[in-house]
């Protein structure tokens, strides 16, 4: 019973005139996440691009802009307060954050909130770098990607940390015994809506990791945002799966993976990799290894 395009409500819960760059993936994702949750939602927004671009009263629902590190703590307070007042029923608490606020700075408070079993939906928009502050590397930056803190030159050739040691936020959430965690992509909004609807039905913490290719940070044409997101899934760089009470299932299986070059060549941050066959083979090996490791856990 997957979600169909014609069944989606057409009501928008965002005002127009946001400050996002042209072709922003977070706006595609946030639009559909709010659509899935409906108007009875409170948004807690950790610092990041999304907090900046929606600051001029963009959402039609209550919207809190909090610090990088304390969004899960704030949502815990709101959850408890509503419960004490007897008004918790029928309200969705949504935390939105970037990969910096989730995988690096806010990881401690997220871990605490999941451990306490607070009832909230955590959506992380992962653009693989700190775009709000100027494109520094983050815990989810892929191997050999150029960022402003991992430049390409004589001494450095992009992000040195290998693909296998990249932070896997879904697995970190699952290690807490979370009732529901999933990965999604802005390239597949119907799949994203389905994951969010499922998370909303779960009592307790839920985590959804949304892959969001950033045209500004990755050096792409703004029109290629969705194409890049879909290629990331088709090449196996991103695996869309869900974990329900510890049971794993691939939600979008890819029968034949495309070579990773097709995805990399869209992005200026990998220009030095595409030009160098040895580096390209290294990246392909890393992606293969990570892909195999994720699929091996499915059994």
């Amino acid at each position: 019973m997957s979600v169909r395009l014609k069944d989606l409500p057409t009501e928008e819960l965002l005002h127009k005139g946001n400050l996002a760059c042209a072709g922003c993936p977070e706006m595609i994702g946030f639009r559909h996440v709010l659509r899935a949750l409906g108007p009875e939602t409170i948004v807690i927004n950790a610092t990041g691009c999304l907090a900046v671009i929606t600051q001029m009263g963009v959402p039609l629902v209550p919207h809190f802009h909090v610090l990088f590190e304390n969004a899960p703590a704030v949502v815990s307070g709101i959850d408890d307060a509503l419960r004490v007042q007897g008004r918790r029923e029928g309200v969705n608490l949504l935390v939105v954050a970037g990969d910096g606020g989730t995988a690096d700075i806010g990881l401690g408070s997220l871990s605490g909130a999941i451990e306490r079993g607070q009832d909230f939906i955590y959506v992380c928009f992962d653009n693989e770098m700190y775009m709000n502050t100027g494109g520094q590397r983050s815990g989810t930056t892929p191997y050999l990607a150029r960022t402003t803190t991992t430049p390409v030159g004589v001494e450095s050739r992009g992000e040195p940390r290998t693909e296998m040691r990249r932070k896997d936020m879904v697995e970190i959430a699952v290690a807490h015994g979370i009732p529901y965690a999933a990965s999604a992509s802005i390239g597949y909004p119907l799949d994203l809506v389905e994951r969010v609807e499922k998370a909303a039905r779960v009592r307790g913490p839920t985590y959804i990791h949304v892959h969001s290719p950033c045209p500004t940070g990755w050096g792409m044409e703004p029109s290629k945002t969705v194409e890049a997101a879909q290629l990331a899934v088709k090449t196996g760089c991103v695996v869309l799966y869900e974990v329900e009470e510890g049971k794993r299932r691939v939600t979008r299986p890819v029968a034949r993976r495309a070579p990773v070059e097709e995805y990399l060549k869209l992005q200026a941050r990998f220009r030095h990799v595409v030009a160098d066959p040895a580096a390209l083979a290294e990246v392909q090996r890393g992606v293969d290894e990570r892909h195999a490791a994720i699929l091996a856990r499915m059994a």
């Binding site: 395009l5 014609k6 989606l8 057409t10 928008e12 965002l14 005002h15 127009k16 005139g17 946001n18 400050l19 996002a20 760059c21 042209a22 072709g23 922003c24 993936p25 706006m27 595609i28 639009r31 929606t54 600051q55 001029m56 009263g57 963009v58 959402p59 039609l60 909004p189 119907l190 045209p215 044409e221 703004p222 029109s223 290629k224 945002t225 969705v226 194409e227």
Partner: protein
């Protein structure tokens, strides 16, 4: 929207500390655009992919008319259209 009007908006935005809900609607982001999406109604199959993928919700759900007051001209709609019904045309100066 002319440049002068946009600059007046930026001055007002900088002079306020809080924004009421919907304040962003005064931010006519259509002024950023250099390329404009033009839809060929004959080729269009009403598949709604352009509506689904528009980051700024600038495409109406049933008529697929573009809201040019806010469209930033990113070109995702033209890139994702399976039948090539949307083309990007340069805005006049």
């Amino acid at each position: 929207m002319g440049l002068e009007k946009y600059e007046a908006f930026v001055r007002r935005a900088r002079s306020t500390l809080t924004y009421d809900p919907g304040w962003s609607r005064e931010n006519m982001t259509g002024a950023w655009r250099t390329m404009r999406p033009v839809r060929d109604a004959e080729l269009c199959t009403s598949c709604a992919l352009c509506w689904l993928f528009c980051p700024d919700a600038c495409i109406a759900p049933v008529t697929f008319d573009v809201d040019l007051a806010y469209c930033k001209g990113c070109g995702i709609c033209a890139n994702e259209c399976k039948v090539g019904a949307i083309s990007m045309q340069r805005e006049p100066e």
